[in-house]
C-alpha cells in the first residue's frame, strides 16, 4: 500500500472511530445489564492508523480481528432496530446514530478486508481473528436454548462479548493470544461440525466459565479438540 493510500485509509478510519467511541461510551454504561460485572469494560479494538503514537502488536489476530468482529457485532446490534438492541441503548439513540453506525461498521470492514486493488498482508491476519470470533458466535448460537432466532443471536453475541472480555483481562502475551485464537477457531469448528453432546457441553462450559488461570484454560481447550482426529 502506498503512503497516500495509507493516509487516506487512516483518515477514513479516524472518522469512524469517533462514531465507535460514542457507541462504546454508550455501551459501557449498559454493559452491567449484559451481566458483564467483573470483566473490565473496555473495548480494546485498537486502530493503528488512528493512534500512531502508541505501541501496538502488529497484526495480532485477537485485537485486530477478533475484537473488531465483536465491535462490529455490537455496532450492528445497535444499528438494528427491534429485538437485537442491547439493553441500555434506547431506541431513540439507535435511531439517531443508526446511519453513522451503519457507515462506521461497513467502512471498518471494507478497510480491513481491503477490497481495493492493493492487497494488505495484514488483512489475512485480521480475517483469521474475525473468523474465530464468527465461528464461536455460531457455536454459541447452536447451543443457545432460546426458541426465537433473534433472542438466540442476541444471547450468542452476549456470550461472545463476555468471553472476549475474559480473555482480554488475562495476562497474555501476543503469542499466547495467537494460540488462544487458533484454539478457539479449531474448537469452534469441531463444535459445530462433529462434536457430540458431551463434548459440546464441555466446550460450552469452558467458554463460559471464569478464566482463573489462562494457561490451564488453554491447555484444557486444546485437550478437548485434540481428542478428535484433526
Amino acid at each position: 500500500m502506498t503512503n497516500e493510500g495509507k493516509a487516506q485509509g487512516g483518515i477514513a478510519l479516524c472518522a469512524v472511530c469517533d462514531v465507535q467511541a460514542r457507541m462504546v461510551e454508550a455501551l459501557n454504561s449498559a454493559l452491567s445489564d449484559w451481566g458483564l460485572v467483573e470483566e473490565p469494560r473496555n473495548l480494546l479494538a485498537p486502530r493503528h492508523e488512528c493512534d500512531v503514537g502508541k505501541q501496538h502488536s502488529s497484526g495480532c489476530p485477537f485485537y485486530d480481528g477478533w475484537m473488531e468482529e465483536v465491535s462490529y457485532g455490537l455496532l450492528t446490534a445497535c444499528s438494528a432496530s427491534g429485538g437485537g438492541l442491547p439493553p441500555g441503548i434506547t431506541a431513540d439513540f439507535a435511531a439517531q446514530a443508526r446511519d453513522c453506525v451503519e457507515k462506521a461498521a461497513s467502512a471498518v470492514r471494507l478497510q480491513r478486508q481491503n477490497t481495493g486493488a492493493v492487497r494488505n498482508p495484514l488483512a489475512g491476519q485480521w480475517e483469521l481473528g474475525a473468523e474465530a470470533a464468527r465461528t464461536l458466535r455460531r457455536f454459541f448460537e447452536c447451543c443457545a436454548p432460546e426458541e426465537q432466532e433473534s433472542t438466540r443471536k442476541r444471547a450468542a453475541l452476549g456470550q461472545l462479548v463476555a468471553l472476549s472480555y475474559r480473555i482480554q483481562s488475562t495476562p497474555t502475551s501476543p503469542a499466547g493470544l495467537r494460540r488462544i485464537v487458533n484454539s478457539c477457531l479449531l474448537a469452534g469448528q469441531c463444535g459445530v461440525t462433529f462434536m457430540r453432546v458431551p463434548e459440546r457441553a464441555e466446550l460450552l462450559r469452558l467458554l463460559t466459565q471464569p478464566i482463573v488461570d489462562v494457561a490451564k484454560w488453554v491447555h484444557r481447550l486444546e485437550a478437548l479438540w485434540r481428542t478428535f482426529p484433526i
Binding site: 489475512g124 444471547a155 502475551s173 503469542a175 479449531l186 488453554v218 485434540r226
Partner: protein, 338 residues
C-alpha cells in the same frame, strides 16, 4: 429471601435462567431477569429451588447487604451439568446444526490466506521476520487441521494443493522454528505460574508432520495406544520418546492432557531403575541437583528456571549431536523427523 411455593415453573424459563447464569461469573436476580426476559419473581423461584446448583456470594469489599443486591454464582460442579442440559435442549428444539461444507472450507481458506500473509511479511525481512515465520508455521498447522474437516474432495483438493505449496515455501526459508516459552506472560509486577509447555500438537510444524499419536489413560490406570490398538506400558512410552514419536496422553475420564505428568513419571521411574529394570549406579539427577532445583523454584520465578534448564539441555544436545556426527562421518538418524 421470599419463597413462592405455589408457583410452577415452565422448563423453558428455568433453562433460560440457568443458561444465563452459566455465562456470568456472578449475578443478581435483576440481571438474570433483564438478560433472559423472565419475570424477577420467576427468576427468584428458580434460584431458590436450585440451591444445589447456585450459591450465594457474600457482598465484596465489606459492602452491607442493604446497600447492594445479593449476588449469586453457579457452583463449579453444576456448570458441566447445565451446559449439557443447554446443548441437549438446543438440539431438541432445532436439531443439530452443522456447518455447511462451504463454511468449513472457508475457515481453511482463511487460515491459508493468513499463512500466505505471514510468509509475505516474513520475506520482507526486518526485526520481526522470525516472528512472522513462527506465525506462519502456527497458521499452517491450523490450516492443516481445519482441512481435515473439509470432507468434500471438490473443495478439499485445491486447498490441499495450496497447503502443500505454502508448506514448500515455508520449508524453503532458512529460518528455524523457535520455542515460544513466554506465551502467557505474567502481569506487571506479579509472579504467576508459568504456562505449561506447549503440547506437541500445537508446536510449530510443517505440513508433513502427522497428528500426534493419542494414548488414553483409563481410570484403572492402564494406558491404551489408539494407533496400535492395544494397551501399552510405561516402558513402551519411554521407547516412543527415544524414537522421537510425537504423542499425547489424554485422561479418558476428564479429557485432560497428562503428557507432562507421564513424562515426569518416566523420568522418576528411570531414576529409580523402574523402567529399565536396573537401578542406575550413577543417576542422571543427583540428590544435590534435585535439592538445588527445589530451592531455585522457591526463590526465582519458575519460568526462569525452566527456561534456563531448557537452554542448557539444548546446548548439550547440540554439542552431543555434532560430536556423534563427527564420529559417524556426518550421518544422523532421526526416525520421525519431527
Amino acid at each position: 429471601m421470599a419463597h413462592f411455593p405455589n408457583l410452577t415453573l415452565e422448563l423453558s424459563d428455568r433453562t433460560r435462567v440457568l443458561q444465563a447464569a452459566l455465562q456470568l461469573p456472578t449475578f443478581t436476580i435483576e440481571q438474570l431477569a433483564e438478560l433472559t426476559g423472565v419475570k424477577e419473581a420467576t427468576v427468584q423461584v428458580t434460584v431458590v429451588r436450585s440451591k444445589d446448583l447456585i450459591e450465594e456470594v457474600s457482598p465484596a469489599g465489606g459492602i452491607r447487604q442493604g446497600m447492594r443486591a445479593v449476588r449469586y454464582r453457579l457452583r463449579e460442579s453444576a456448570r458441566a451439568r447445565i451446559a449439557r442440559e443447554a446443548v441437549e435442549m438446543a438440539e431438541r428444539l432445532r436439531g443439530q446444526q452443522k456447518l455447511s461444507i462451504q463454511d468449513t472450507a472457508r475457515g481453511a481458506t482463511i487460515a491459508l490466506n493468513a499463512v500466505d500473509s505471514s510468509l509475505e511479511l516474513a520475506s520482507a525481512g526486518g526485526a520481526e521476520a522470525k516472528t512472522w515465520e513462527r506465525r506462519a508455521r502456527d497458521q499452517l498447522d491450523l490450516a492443516r487441521r481445519l482441512l481435515v474437516l473439509v470432507k468434500d474432495p471438490v473443495h478439499r483438493t485445491p486447498l490441499q494443493r495450496r497447503l502443500v505449496q505454502l508448506a514448500g515455501r515455508l520449508e524453503g526459508s532458512d529460518l528455524q522454528p523457535e520455542d515460544e516459552s513466554e506465551q502467557f506472560g505474567p502481569p506487571p509486577g506479579a509472579a504467576v505460574e508459568q504456562a505449561p509447555p506447549q503440547a506437541p500438537a500445537t508446536q510449530a510444524s510443517g505440513v508433513s508432520k502427522a497428528p500426534p499419536r493419542t494414548i488414553w489413560k483409563y481410570p484403572n490406570r492402564r494406558l491404551y495406544d489408539a494407533v496400535e490398538r492395544r494397551y501399552i506400558t510405561l516402558n513402551e512410552i519411554h521407547q516412543l520418546v527415544l524414537r522421537h514419536v510425537d504423542f499425547v496422553v489424554i485422561e479418558k475420564k476428564g479429557r485432560a492432557d497428562i503428557t507432562r505428568a507421564i513424562l515426569l513419571q518416566i523420568v522418576a521411574e528411570r531414576e529409580q531403575g523402574g523402567v529399565q529394570g536396573t537401578i542406575p549406579a550413577d543417576p542422571l539427577l543427583s540428590r544435590d541437583f534435585l535439592a538445588e532445583i527445589i530451592r531455585s523454584c522457591d526463590g526465582v520465578p519458575r519460568g526462569t528456571v525452566g527456561c534456563y534448564l531448557q537452554q542448557s539441555l539444548d546446548v548439550f544436545s547440540a554439542a552431543h549431536k555434532s560430536e556423534s556426527r563427527g564420529r559417524d562421518g556426518g550421518t544422523e538418524v532421526n526416525e520421525s523427523g519431527g
